[in-house]
């Protein structure tokens, strides 16, 4: 399904020149602390000096050099700005009724410090897209095409062992339901420490059984927990996940994910399972992390409001494809794709008393897609050609990409 990749100017191709110039986000969204972004890596650990008040020399000494050493072995990155460049990514899940095409030729580019939202209905392939990037598509699903360039390395060509080293260290992921994502059988502190241990920031077994390394693990874990805003980490790191509230669990997850200072954080509906007030706190935390460390974030959500609040750029997915992508304000204020419009119409807005209009019909069967546009059966601006050929993702008014035959050019 990645056939059209070559035929249209991908978002990367289009935006790369602008990026390479200043590595700044689009002019439409000003960044608050642009200066911290570029050298976040070399600043060693810590989000800002402000929220990392006490740093025992022992902790830092063990932590930072290891980090530097790890950086040193990486290939020199010529195009440092595009930390992640996905092109033509396609993933299928074989089922008893045929292959479900969960991801169909997705192209994404993520600059350092970027925050991208992927929105769409349940089952449209957004989560599968993230898992594909991690190469963690659950069996029997598999990636059938595409490349995933991470700072110049194609993740698809890495061995299982090399890929494992990337996971958690360079690209981390946070899941939807913290309740099920934390292992119920282990103490929270151990789960955070595991991240550090597998990537060599803490000694693994049996060295970790010594008192000294236990003390060090404890200090590092408490520090991380404090950074994500968990109160009294000194005692709570010994507790089990079920003793934490949902929001705190999500903070633990984020602490775990960020333990090794990854370049990219993939967040799969991180707030869906949380109360609204907690949602805001978690989002604030993530924003803060992004701003202070320059960790790029891909946020998958079905909630446009969250995307609007949190992200600079948004990609709308439908049936495994990106149907519209662009700066968040532009997409929200002036949606081009009929699906995006439908999505926006089905969200209640404060202060408006317009009746909501849901999108009629159902998500198409991803195992039996026709030749035409996959949204055509539900589309209100459907044209005859929609049933015959797939629209391609083309640039619209310079800043956006839209996949629709009926687009305004």
């Amino acid at each position: 399904m990645a056939l059209e990749t070559g035929t249209i100017p991908g978002p990367c191709g289009r935006r790369a020149p602008g990026r390479s110039a200043d590595c700044a986000p689009g002019p439409d969204i000003p960044r608050k602390q642009g200066g911290t972004v570029n050298n976040a890596r070399s600043q060693s650990a810590g989000y800002t000096a402000g929220i990392e008040p006490v740093r025992e020399s022992g902790v830092a000494a063990g932590w930072a050099p290891a980090r530097v050493a790890a950086d040193a072995v990486r290939p020199a990155d010529e195009r440092a700005c595009a930390v992640l460049q996905v092109s033509g990514l396609s993933t299928v899940y074989p089922t008893t009724r045929g292959d479900v095409q969960a991801v169909r030729g997705v192209d994404l580019t993520l600059g350092e410090g970027d925050v991208l939202a992927i929105v769409g209905e349940s089952g449209c392939g957004k989560s599968a897209c993230l898992l594909s990037i991690m190469r963690l598509v659950p069996h029997p699903g598999r990636i059938v095409a595409g490349s995933i360039m991470f700072v110049g390395r194609d993740l698809m060509s890495l061995s299982a062992r090399e890929m494992r080293e990337v996971r958690g260290r360079d690209i981390a992921m946070v899941f939807q339901d913290p309740m099920t994502t934390l292992n119920p059988a282990f103490r929270v502190g151990d789960q955070i420490a595991e991240s550090l241990r597998v990537h060599g920031f803490l000694p693994g077994l049996p060295a970790s059984l010594t008192r000294r390394s236990r003390v060090r693990q404890r200090e590092m874990v408490i520090e991380l927990m404090r950074q994500v805003g968990i109160p009294s980490p000194e005692t709570r790191h010994l507790e089990y996940p079920h003793q934490f509230s949902g929001g705190m669990q999500q903070r633990v997850l984020i602490a775990t994910a960020l333990a090794c200072r990854p370049k990219i954080l993939l967040a799969d509906e991180p707030t869906t399972a949380l109360d609204v007030t907690i949602q805001a706190q978690v989002l604030d935390l993530m924003r803060e992390i992004n701003e202070t460390t320059g960790t790029a974030i891909v946020l998958v959500t079905h909630d446009l409001a969250i995307a609007a609040e949190f992200c600079r750029e948004v990609a709308v997915m439908y049936a495994g494809q990106i149907v519209e992508q662009g700066p968040i304000d532009a997409v929200l204020e002036d949606p081009v794709h009929p699906y995006t419009r439908g999505l926006l119409r089905s969200i209640p807005r404060l202060g408006e008393r317009k009746p909501l209009t849901p999108i009629m019909g159902e998500v198409p069967d991803l195992a039996a897609l026709g030749p035409g546009c996959s949204f055509a059966p539900r589309c209100d601006v459907r044209r005859p050609c929609c049933d015959i050929s797939q629209p391609e993702l083309v640039a619209v008014d310079g800043r956006r990409l839209v996949r629709c035959h009926a687009r305004r050019d």
Binding site: Y93, T95, T96, R97, V100, A102, S122, G123, K126, S127, A128, L131, P138, H139, P140, G141, Q176, D177, T180, P184, D268, E269, A273, E362, V363, D365, L366, A367
Partner: protein
């Protein structure tokens, strides 16, 4: 005993359901990666034009159910084997070459021979083993079905009431089941058979008498967790009676785990009959049952292996098939557990 009581794990369990699984259906948390599942749910919703009447719904559901079962090769194999056994059982008089109780002492312990009169040989009374295996399907299937039916009826009946109303009824019945569980099973059955005397029905009762306990526990635990769910509260708020809620809201949601446990237990019951034969408490010798046939042949293992082994293989085949179907049922009826 607490762990037993609180987790609805099948006793001596073939299958286990931990709390996570128990809680999950209520929370309706969809795991976005489970594409097969998303697909199935969607497919089940959109497919079919059978109308919305109850019959249409049932037929449509059954079709979808059958289609899902058909998609599971293990289930298909298991189902075909079971059908084969059932067909053989039904048509035994036409399939079997001899009468199963036709004693021919002069032909005893004839070895299997494909060209001879007795393809699978004869037993210690010269009865044709093939015919006995064929007729034995009737008895063994019946033992399994009846014991499970009784166990389910009693166990689920008490379990639903106890789990729903709790209170002193629950306490009394649960204490009683603790007591039954603490009693070693075989000792119990030996005693029960001695008290009841021999006979097919007494065997069924003796086997069922403790068999219901695990259905009771499973039903009780499931009902207790179902009861806290929103839809039950909603039904209460609508002023529906307890009986109506139990029958129309709760039972349908606990029935699938009961069904799964029932299929998986059925094999055990068929095997257990052989243990009783070993202890000299089996069913009448004229009635061919695989368990007692294996036991009869035990004395001839050194000289005539076929007497014990062939009925045993028939038994393994059926138990295997029942279990395959049972696991497929579990997978299909409980979409959370779908494999892959």
């Amino acid at each position: 005993m607490r762990a037993l009581r609180d987790s609805p794990i099948c006793l001596e369990g073939i299958e286990a359901i931990d709390e996570g699984r128990r809680a999950a259906p209520g929370r309706e948390v969809r795991r976005p990666y489970d594409f097969q599942e998303a697909y199935e749910v969607r497919a089940a919703r959109t497919r079919g034009s059978w109308g919305t009447g109850p019959l249409g719904l049932a037929v449509r559901n059954f079709l979808s159910f059958a289609r899902q079962m058909a998609g599971n090769p293990a289930a298909v194999i298991g189902g075909v084997v079971i059908l084969l056994y059932v067909a053989v059982a039904i048509f035994a008089p036409w399939v079997a070459p001899c009468a199963p109780d036709q004693v021919a002492l002069s032909e005893r312990l004839a070895p299997p021979s494909w060209i001879g009169e007795f393809p699978l040989g004869t037993d210690q009374l010269g009865r044709d083993i093939l015919s006995r295996i064929i007729y034995g399907a009737r008895v063994s299937i019946l033992v399994g079905v009846l014991t499970i039916a009784i166990s389910v009826t009693v166990g689920v009946g008490l379990g639903v009431v106890a789990g729903y109303f709790r209170g002193s009824f629950d306490r009394i019945v649960s204490r009683f089941t603790d007591l039954l569980l603490a009693f070693p099973y075989l000792i119990f059955v030996i005693g029960a058979m001695a008290v009841l005397g021999p006979g097919f029905w007494n065997l069924i009762w003796a086997l069922s008498f403790k068999g219901w306990v695990e259905f009771y526990r499973l039903a009780r635990a499931e009902v207790m967790s179902e009861k806290t769910r929103e839809y039950v509260e909603a039904a209460r708020a609508l002023g529906r009676s307890h009986a109506a809620i139990i029958c129309s809201e709760i039972l349908p949601n606990v029935v699938h785990s009961i069904l799964v446990l029932g299929t998986l237990r059925m094999g055990n019951m068929i095997v257990l009959e052989s243990s009783l034969s070993f202890l000299g408490l089996g069913i009448p010798p004229r009635i061919p049952a695989w368990g007692s046939m294996v036991n009869d042949g035990r004395r001839y293992m050194l000289t005539a292996w076929w007497v014990a082994t062939l009925p045993g293989l028939a038994l393994v085949g059926l138990v295997l098939a029942i279990n395959l179907v049972g696991e497929a049922l579990r997978d299909v009826l409980d979409p959370r557990l779908k494999e892959g």
